[in-house]
Amino acid sequence: MSEPISYALPTSLGVALIIAFGILWIFYGWYLGRKNQTHDDFALAGRQVGLALAMATAMATWVTSNTTLVAPQLAYQLGIWGMVGYSFAALGLILFAPLAARIKQLMPMGYTSGDFIRLRFGRAAWWPFIVISLIYALGWLVSLGMAGGILLQALTGLDYHIGMSVILFICVGYTLFGGLRAVIATDFIQTVVIIIGVVVTAWFLIDKVSLASIHQNLSDNHPKLLDLLFPAALMFLFNNIFFGLGEIFHSNVWWSRAQAFRKGIAFKAFLIGGLLWLPIPIVTGFIALAAPQLGIYPPSADMIGPMVTAQVLGKVGAVIVLVVVFSALASSLDSLLAATSDLITRDIYCQFFNPEANDQQLIRWNRLCLIGLGVFTWLLCLPQVATLAALLHFTGAFVASTIFPIVLGLYHPKLSGRTATLAMIAGSTLGLISYFVVGFYVAALTSSVVSMLVCVLGLRWSTTSFRWQQLQESDGC
C-alpha cells in the first residue's frame, strides 16, 4: 500500500456545508412557525396536513440514521439478509396504515399515544407505557445525535463531539421555532433530497464498481455475507421486523402524524410512504457490500456507508452523502424532538402539574421540553457508548412489548387495562433478559411473544368490555 486512506472532505468544507444547511432550516422553521397561533397549530400542524406532505413526512421520518447508516452497517455485518431484512422495516409503516385510520376514527381530537393508553387502559398501564416511550425516544435521539457525529467524523475527520453538537443544535433550533408544521415541511424537502441523493449514489456506484467483481471478492474473502443460511442473519430477520413494528405502533412520532393528517388520508399516506421506503435500505445497504472490493475496512461498522460512497464518488460523492445523511438525520431528529416534547407536555405537564393550562402555557412548556431534551440527548451522546445498531436494538426489548396491547386495544373491547399492563411489563423484562443472555437478535421477538401470550390469556378470561366513546372524553387541558 503506497498511501494511507484518509478523509474524503476537508473539515472546514464539511462544517461549512452543515452550517449553511442549518441556517437554512432554522430560518425556514422560523418562517413557518409564524403561523402557529394555538397549541394545536404548534403540536399537530392544525390537523390539516394533506396527502403529499403526509406521505413525505411518513417516509422521511422513517428514513433515518437507521436507513442511511445502520442499513449499510447490517449489510456489512450480516450480508444479503442484513440488507433485505432491514428493508422489511417498511412493514411497520404499511401495517400502521389501518391503525392510523382507526386512531383518527376513535380519537378525532386526540393528541398523543399516551392519551390513548391512559383512556383505554387506565393509569396503571400508562406508567409502563410512558417509561417505555421515554426510553425508546432517548435511545433513538441518542442514536441520531451519535450518527451525526459519526457521519462528520467519517467524512471529514471532524471530532465526533463537535459534529454531534452542531447537528443537535441545528435540529433543536428549527423545531423550536416552527413546531410540527416546520418538521413536516422540512421533511418534504428532505425527502426530495434523500431520494435524489440515493438514486444518484446508486447510479454512480453501479457504473464504477461492477456487480461481478463485488460478488467475486465477497465469495473469495467474506463468504458468509452471501450465505442465505447465515445463522445470525436468519435470527435477526423477524426480530428486526418486530422491532420496527414496536417502534412505529407505540411511538408518538407516528401517532401525532396520524392526528395531524387531514381526515381520511392517514391510511393512504402510511401505505404509500411504506411502499416508497421499502427499496431505500436495499440501495443504502448494497453499497456496504462493495467495501471489501474497494479495500475499505471501517473502524466501526456504522461508518461503512459514508466511507464507501466517499471513496467511490470522491469529493462530490462525499458532499452528496453529507447532504443526504444530514437530511435523513434532521428529518428524524426533529420529528422525534417534536413528538417527545409533545408527549411530555400533554401526558406529564398537563396531567400532573397544570390541567387548566392554556394554549400559550402549553406552547411554552413544549419549547422548554424541546430544549431540555436537546441538552439531555447531548449529554448522553458524549461518551459514544455503543454502535448505532446495538443501541437501537436494546430499545427493541421495550417497544416490541407494546405491539399486541396496542393492536388489540384498538380493535378488541375485551382487552383489559390489567392485561395490557402485565403484557408490557412481562414482555419488556423477558426481552431485556434475552438481550443480555442470548443477544440482540432475539430481544424484540422474545418481548413480543411474551406480550402476545399475556394478551391472549387475558382475553380468554376477560369479563370487561370497553366503551369506545370513552376515548373521546377529555380529562385535562
Partner: protein, 161 residues
C-alpha cells in the same frame, strides 16, 4: 443592536469557531521514519462472523492487517488497509474456523511490509443453523398472526362503521 440579532450573531460566531477545529492527524502526512508498531488485540470468539480488531495506541504510520488461516503465516490470504488514525477496524463475513491476524507497516509503493507485529487469533463459531431456522419459522408464524389480527380488525370495523 436588538437582543435577538445579537443572539443570532453570537450563535453564528460560535459555529465559525468550529471551522478552526483540528481534525485527527489524517490530513497530515505520516512520518516516514520507522516507528514501533502498536499492539493488535482481538476478541477470542465471534458467533456472528464479524468482530473488531483494536490497537492499544493510535497509529502513526500507514498500517495493514494481514490475514491468514495458518498461524505461521506461510501464506497471507488477505491484507486489510488500516483506515486513517482510528484505533480499531471492523471485519466481517468470516466462516467457522480459526482466523489469524497480524499488524504490518504498509510497504511503500506496494512493496512488502518491512515490519510485522505479533499474531492474534479469532475463533469464529456461528450459531447452530437449527436454532436460527427455528427462530425464523417462529417469527414468521407470529408475524402472520399479527397481520391476520390487524386485517380482520380493520375489515370488521370498516364494515361495522
Amino acid at each position: 443592536m436588538p437582543n435577538r440579532a445579537r443572539f443570532i450573531v453570537q450563535i453564528i460566531l460560535l459555529f465559525l469557531i468550529t471551522l478552526h477545529a483540528r481534525p485527527p492527524a489524517a490530513h497530515e502526512a505520516p512520518p516516514s521514519v520507522r516507528a514501533e508498531l502498536p499492539l493488535l488485540t482481538a476478541p477470542a470468539i465471534s458467533r456472528e462472523g464479524y468482530f473488531t480488531l483494536q490497537l492499544q495506541s493510535l497509529p502513526t504510520v500507514p498500517l495493514v492487517v494481514e490475514y491468514s488461516t495458518d498461524p505461521q503465516f506461510t501464506q497471507v490470504t488477505a491484507q486489510y488497509p488500516w483506515f486513517a488514525d482510528f484505533s480499531q477496524m471492523t471485519l466481517s463475513g468470516f466462516p467457522n474456523g480459526q482466523h489469524y491476524f497480524r499488524l504490518a507497516q504498509a510497504g511503500v509503493d506496494g512493496s512488502a511490509p518491512n515490519q510485522v507485529g505479533p499474531v492474534v487469533m479469532v475463533r469464529v463459531q456461528h450459531y447452530p443453523l437449527n436454532l436460527a431456522i427455528g427462530l425464523l419459522c417462529f417469527g414468521g408464524a407470529m408475524f402472520g398472526l399479527l397481520v391476520v389480527m390487524i386485517v380482520r380488525g380493520h375489515w370488521s370495523r370498516s364494515r361495522y362503521e
